[in-house]
């Protein structure tokens, strides 16, 4: 490929010049998305709900602070504090909008030519956006507009909901395993009249096949980009990816983690029974089964009572049907609930908590490490003191303490996701100092590089210098530590729930499963505690393996070792 042709071409122009590979890939992507459109829209609705919840929480902040201050210092001060907090939040929001959504200077674009420093213009831009946001916020809370806004959002949600009810390839309805025996010996209501076991197995297969195909297609997209559309024929990242591809332990970790994530995302499709029916409100949902040649119906709750696994004779073990012909691949738990369904929804809980906690902790640690490494001095000292203070308290004890305090006080945060959000926030608050400490060395190192000085010498702003010239180097390290720590968070959540403090019933959680089943370990109902225990081991090992793989792939220090091994491996493979 000659470079001269690519001079002065943008990405779009390069695609226009050779559209075929891109078109093929996009068509494939559309097909993949279309067969799962309902589930994707579902996800978007859920995400929108979460964002809405978070926003309303933040919006309630000023009045909450105002009330608190008014309680001690009088209502005038309280109103002042409320307005101040509101302005502060708006200013933060304005800055965020500026950095994320608005490239360049909005004021300049509106035709104001200000002869000021970059910093001043930037500040003015932020103030400008803050003012716009304030106007929008005021409009949103005044009556006619708030009504319009509300109905608009509701309309949008309804529209999306109608899309989300479209059938999907992995849907429970598409490949149904819920049906009943017919007196003639076959099955009714299941997919193609297969037995529930086979129908369920097929669905699980389809889910994982779909997930792996989607992953492969994304990878294919990357290779197409690399081959046809990327300007550089080599980037340092290529080497990292090649090293990772020869790192079998890392790939093992990636597969485990991917399967775990798929399990969490497709939890509703993977369970042999509907979680709402079987776990959350078993007495409000009925199903049909064949009782002495007549099809009768009963509630899940009643049936569960007779399908309990409590050792001895009363055990629904692995790969078996219960007396109501419900398929239970991993048996039932001590309450007669389906263990597999419980498990996949537990994966969702663990993933949500883990990702929220580590995401927050990583964001804090990364921001702090950039700021402290760039500015050093007082900021650095204060951060050291803060982080040392947090580190010096035994982590688990602190988690216990905080979760008990919040739960006993019935703080609203403790109710969200049955305590899941609270745990995630606590973990984030406790784990960021450790993360920050572990990337402090590399970030100080990169701050001393001459290219940072060079950026300063031609007038690059500190924020951009940190983002362009420091963050990419630290991101590597923080990814490694974050993936290792994610396993730790999952274990800690399980441990807390085992102690009865983490996630409250009925939200499924692996640690609580182990706790609930531990008295049956020596009986025929050993599976209740054992299977989630093994799953925890697998997932945590997987995250650690993935972390190892990323480290060996990206850490320039390990260059020599792995590239030798990689060369040997690729040499052997031809």
């Amino acid at each position: 490929m000659s470079y001269d042709e690519h001079d002065d071409e943008t990405f779009r122009e390069r695609i226009d010049a050779n559209p075929r590979p891109a078109l093929i890939w996009i068509v494939g992507l559309i097909v993949l998305l279309a067969v799962e459109l309902g589930r994707i829209v579902d996800g978007i609705i859920a995400l929108g709900g979460a964002i809405r919840f978070a926003l309303s929480g933040i919006a309630a902040g000023p009045s909450w602070i105002g009330d608190n201050v008014a309680g001690t210092l009088g209502s005038a001060v309280g109103t002042g504090a409320m307005i101040l907090t509101a302005l502060l939040l708006l200013a933060i929001a304005g800055s965020l909008v500026k950095t994320i959504f608005v490239p360049g200077s909005p004021l300049k674009r509106l035709g104001y030519d200000i002869d000021q420093t970059k910093q001043t213009i930037d500040l003015l831009d932020r103030l400008f956006l803050t003012a716009i946001l304030a106007v929008i916020a005021l409009l949103a809370i005044t009556s006619p507009f708030s009504g319009v806004l509300e109905s608009g959002i509701n309309g949008l949600t309804r529209g999306l909901e109608s899309v989300s009810s479209l059938p999907t390839i992995t849907g429970r309805e598409t490949i149904s395993n819920e049906g009943h025996r017919t007196p003639g010996g076959g099955w009714e209501g299941t997919f193609l009249g297969l037995s529930p076991a086979w129908a369920w197995a097929l669905r699980v297969l389809v889910v994982y096949a779909y997930a792996f195909v989607a992953l492969a297609w994304l990878w294919k997209g990357y290779t197409i980009f690399r081959e046809h559309y990327r300007e550089a024929d080599w980037t340092p990242r290529d080497d990292s990816i090649n090293r990772f591809r020869n790192h079998y332990w890392g790939i093992f970790g990636l597969i485990i983690v991917f399967m775990f994530v798929v399990m969490a995302i497709w939890a509703p499709a993977l369970g042999p029974v509907d979680a709402e029916h079987n776990l959350y409100s078993p007495y409000e949902h009925e199903f049909e089964y064949l009782d002495d040649d007549t099809v009768v119906s009963t509630t899940h709750g009643t049936a569960n009572l007779q399908s309990q696994s409590q050792g001895g004779e009363s055990t629904i073990g692995l790969m078996s049907y219960d007396d109501f012909d419900r398929w239970a691949p991993f048996g039932t738990n001590q309450d007669g609930k389906d263990l597999f369904t419980f498990l996949v929804f537990g994966a969702r809980t663990s993933l949500v908590i883990g990702v929220t906690a580590i995401g927050l902790a990583t964001a804090i640690a990364l921001a702090m490490s950039l700021i402290t490494a760039y500015y050093k001095g007082l900021v650095d000292t204060l951060t050291i003191i803060t982080s040392d203070t947090i580190i010096s308290i035994p982590a688990f004890l602190l988690v216990l303490l905080l979760s008990v305090i919040f739960q006993q006080a019935n703080h609203p945060i403790a109710d969200v996701y049955n305590g899941g959000l609270l745990l995630a926030l606590i973990f984030a608050g406790i784990y960021w100092p450790g993360l920050w400490r572990s990337i402090r060395g590399p970030s100080l190192q990169v701050a001393e590089q001459e290219w940072v000085d060079a950026a300063k010498s031609y007038g690059q702003t500190p924020a951009m210098t940190m983002r362009k010239h420091m963050a990419p180097y630290i991101a590597t390290y923080i990814m490694i530590y974050a993936s290792l720590l994610l396993g730790g968070v999952i274990i800690a959540t399980a441990a807390l729930s085992f102690l009865g403090l983490g996630i409250n019933p009925p939200t499924p959680e692996w640690g609580r499963m182990v706790s609930d089943g531990r008295s049956y370990v020596s009986t025929t109902s050993w599976h209740i505690a054992t299977i989630p225990g093994i799953m925890i081991v697998f997932v945590v090992t997987g995250f650690n393996a993935l972390g190892d793989g990323i480290r060996d792939a990206m850490d320039p220090e390990s260059d020599t070792g792995t590239s030798d091994a990689g060369a040997a491996a690729s040499g052997g493979g031809g």
Partner: protein, 452 residues
């Protein structure tokens, strides 16, 4: 180095020199510039005086060399000139604008005019960005024209510095040290600066590549009319590229003058010593090296008088001791250095207890030191008497008194007050040494008698 010693015409004051320079086309005027690094902790407030009162001019279009041994402050001086370090005092007049006073927009605009090329091409380019992104970044920062024109300009620049346009999409990993330095140079050129600080631009490169980069720099200077401050410790490179040279030692400029003249006929004793350290490729040449003893003083505690006074081979000696053996003078200097170190070192509690108990303290006793220094020397009786008094002070743990006594006896003008800048030739060469004063013999003469 056997020329006639140049006698001093007059002792020039600072103001005279400024007047003398105004008729030339001066681009950068540095006046009494100081850059101190603050002490690291609460307990150690003494700053490191990296650049301690430096004044010089850089003329438009010339290459001014800045040489000196490691740690003498030449890199700090260069970085202060482009405002990567903030000056503690003094001024940098860049076309009559004081750069140390600038901030905000003015500083940002000013930065376009003064750029720096870094020493280590491995560290000065961000490995995660393509060459195009690296060279284009200054243009992005200053919002220069449209993105397309920026790309065009970067590719032209790559051409200019001897790379190819298609290197735009490559990564720094894919280039050799010399090529990486060319990329660094291209980046400094993007904003079309008038003045560039070259901070040892070739010292990290192979000798064969050094010549290429030096030639490139010279070509660029001709093409764009650039003004260079060339920082180096390799004297042969400096001799080749520079119009004038400033010799730096411990935060001070010791001598400044036209390259040819300075190399062939150095005036300052430090320049003498520095030039005599250049290795001679011909093994048959008999060369009298001036060997300096000890290491440069700690820039946190520079000497009171002339910065070079602790090691100077031509130091002014009191008349009554002028006849003393050179070797004995070296030993006396060593003694003073040891005592200075001891004065600065804190005695720990353990040390004091060991002393009280009569055990070996961490510091050797004064007798051991004397044994080592003077056992093989014939010490005249008047010197011996002084050494005995000094030893008494040291035994009483009073190093300060001992040092004062040594200074009173063996010190001279060099150690009591800083010298002035003397104009030592018709070309306006400046030297920072007491010896140029009419009351003393010139450095050349002294070095000839003492070291030849």
């Amino acid at each position: 180095m056997s020329q006639e010693p140049t006698r001093t015409e007059r002792a020039a004051s600072d103001d005279d020199r400024i007047d003398a320079d105004t008729d030339e086309d001066v681009m950068v005027k540095v006046r009494n510039l100081r850059t101190y690094y603050e002490g690291g902790g609460l307990l150690n407030p003494t700053p490191v005086k990296a650049v301690d009162g430096v004044s010089f001019d850089i003329r438009r279009g010339e290459t001014l060399g800045l040489v000196g041994e490691s740690g003498c402050g030449k890199t700090t001086l260069g970085r202060t000139l482009v405002q990567l370090e903030s000056a503690t005092g003094g001024e940098i007049l860049f076309d009559d604008v004081d750069a140390t006073e600038l901030s905000g927009t003015e500083l940002e605009k000013w930065r376009r005019n003064a750029q720096i090329v870094f020493q280590d091409p491995d560290s000065s380019l961000n490995d995660r960005m393509t060459i195009g992104e690296i060279v284009r970044e200054p243009l992005d920062v200053h919002d220069w024209k449209t993105p397309r024109e920026r790309r065009q300009r970067v590719q032209e620049l790559l051409d200019t510095v001897g790379l190819q346009r298609e290197h735009y999409y490559r990564y720094p990993h894919q280039f050799s040290g010399g090529q990486r330095q060319r990329i660094g140079i291209a980046r400094t050129l993007t904003l079309e600066p008038d003045f560039i600080v070259l901070d040892e631009p070739v010292s990290a490169l192979d000798v064969s590549v050094q010549a290429e980069v030096i030639n490139l720099l010279e070509d660029l200077q001709d093409e764009f009319g650039l003004t260079y401050l060339f920082i180096a410790h390799d004297l042969s490179v400096v001799k080749h590229i520079c119009d004038r040279v400033a010799v730096m030692y411990l935060g001070h400029i010791m001598e400044l003058g036209p390259t040819e003249e300075l190399f062939s006929d150095p005036a300052n004793p430090y320049t003498h010593s520095l030039l005599s350290a250049i290795p001679e490729p011909d093994p048959t040449v008999e060369k009298d090296r001036i060997r300096l003893h000890g290491t440069p003083p700690n820039p946190r505690h520079p000497p009171e008088g002339c910065p070079f006074s602790t090691r100077c081979p031509a130091r002014i000696r009191p008349d009554e001791y002028e006849h003393l053996d050179n070797e004995l003078w070296t030993r006396l200097n060593t003694l003073r250095e040891v005592l200075r170190e001891r004065e600065r070192a804190d005695r720990t509690v353990t040390d004091r207890i060991r002393e009280l108990l009569g055990k070996d303290p961490r510091f050797g006793t004064i007798d051991e030191i004397y044994d080592e220094l003077f056992a093989d020397q014939s010490v005249p009786s008047n010197v011996d008497a002084i050494l005995e008094e000094v030893a008494d002070h040291v035994r009483a743990n009073d190093e300060t008194a001992a040092l004062d006594q040594l200074k009173a006896e063996f010190g001279g003008a060099c150690e009591s007050e800083p010298p002035e800048y003397y104009t030592v030739s018709d070309t306006g060469r400046q030297s920072f040494c007491h010896r140029h004063d009419d009351g003393y013999r010139s450095p050349d003469e002294v070095l000839n008698t003492r070291h030849r």
